[in-house]
Amino acid sequence: MKQLRVALVMLVIGGLLTTVAFVMAFTTAEVQRFGTVTLSERIDTAFPLQEVTADGYRYERPWFSQKIFYFHVPVAEASFLVFGVAAFFAIRFLMTKRKEYDTKSRIAMETAIVFVTLTMITGILWTRAAWGVWWEWEPRLTTYFIMTLMMIGYFVLRNSIEDEERRAVYASVFGIIAFINAPISFFITRLIPSNHPVVFQSGFATSNLVPFILGQIGMLLVGYAIYSIRMNEERLEERVEIMKEALEG
């Protein structure tokens, strides 16, 4: 129960931090610019005037959709991390054959699938805003798509095996091989020319870095909280099983 309380506190802190990061992204963070726009008249605006040419007044174009970055990237990085945790526990399981590691691996994979889904959704919205299309077969999106499919496959595999121990072993084996595969797909898709942005070419400005780090910490806290709450549920469920068996036997 204490663990659950800790998880709840972490969830709340994580929520607050990500919200703060979100607010900061719109207030204190420096506006990122994405190319320029030329207008026929001089206007009164916060966006700096770059130069006056024969065509008109060239302003830096504000890049509003970049604001998604402050929560999209934290979720994405958290998802990779949790996937790694799942693979780590899968290895631990194969080494020890102890059921608790399989449970941990499964819960981590479940958390990862939640985060991957969220990354996909925020990513798709960003793609629409920035590029005007909902989907593009571009390395990061593709890799993510493949990763999502592998995670779905992990659960399909689990659900189609009756024997508890065999299920654990097979799922662990697939979890590990999927984790090895993810960077390979990323690497291979990368070799095709891509236009996924490298967001801060010129390095982080402090005003950008602060909300990003806050968001990242917040998201990791949320991830840990989810994992921890689910583990709690799992343990409780196991207890119920044991009690039921004791009552019946």
């Binding site: 194969l94 493949i146 499919l149 592998m150 779905i152 496959g153 399909v156 595999l157 189609s160 095996i161 009756e162 024997d163 121990e165 065999r166 072993v169 097979y170 662990s172 084996v173 697939f174 590990i176 091989i177 999927a178 090895i180 595969n181 390979i184 797909s185 690497f187 291979i188 898709t189 070799l191």
Partner: protein, 242 residues
């Protein structure tokens, strides 16, 4: 009958066992022709479906640009069929258990099954390509060097057979065998297929820089094969033990 043979399986025995498993798979296949016929017919049916898909493409369309993609697509689906078959044999009468009971090193089973699968896949590939060329590529010119195609095919087959054998050994023990295999197999194959299609397209189209594209594709295929087959080999023992 009671005297015992106290023998430690040395290198010689492993090799003997490897050959025995491989020979058994080939003999059984030659006898039933189950895998080759089902894979071959499936490949032919895929060709028909391709014809439907391309029926509205018009004359300006150059089928060579997607030929490699179509071919590898056919290979992926037929190979899944074959992989499933090859392990259903072992599973049906509990023969895999009998294999595991014998003093055989587990990797021997992995390599024997994987190489058997690779041979069948290569046979199907070799049969499919002329048919494909006959049906879709008549009048087209072949751009690259001829040796490039078999090299790419071999590279792809190694990866498909290696990872596929691991996955098929798992999926035969599940409910809904074929479906589970597809769900696990295709995402894992994604990088390999992408590289295979790239290398094969370079070979088919030729043109500027095609040699370089081919080799960079082959480099990726080699990297994938090395990493994933090694991983499959390392994990196979756990799968067998479960």
């Amino acid at each position: 009958m009671a005297e015992t043979t106290a023998r430690r399986p040395g290198r010689g025995l492993s090799w003997r066992q490897f050959r025995a498993i491989l020979r058994k798979d080939i003999v059984m296949e030659l006898r039933t022709k189950e895998m080759i016929t089902s894979m071959g017919i499936y490949a032919l049916l895929t060709m028909v479906v391709y014809q439907i898909a391309l029926s509205q493409a018009g004359t300006a369309f150059d089928p060579r640009t997607i030929a490699a993609g179509l071919l590898w697509l056919a290979f992926v689906f037929t190979s899944m069929l074959g992989l499933n078959r090859s392990l259903v044999h072992e599973k049906d009468q509990g023969c895999l258990e009998a294999l595991l009971l014998s003093p055989v090193d587990r990797p021997v089973i992995f390599f024997a099954k994987a190489i058997g699968n690779m041979i069948f896949l290569l046979i199907v590939q070799v049969l499919t390509i002329p048919v494909f060329a006959f049906l879709f590529l008549q009048g087209s010119e072949y751009g690259g060097q001829l040796w490039m195609i078999p090299v790419a095919l071999l590279g792809g087959a190694v990866g498909i057979a290696g990872v596929g054998t691991l996955l098929a050994t798992m999926s035969v023990n599940t409910k809904g065998k074929d479906f589970v295999l597809a769900v696990l197999f295709i995402p894992l194959m994604y990088p390999l297929l992408l590289a295979c299609v790239s290398a094969t397209t370079a070979a088919v189209l030729g043109g500027d820089g095609h040699v370089q594209q081919f080799w960079s594709g082959m480099g990726l295929i080699a990297a994938y094969d090395a990493i994933m087959v090694l991983a499959a080999y390392a994990l196979y023992e756990f799968v067998l033990g479960a």
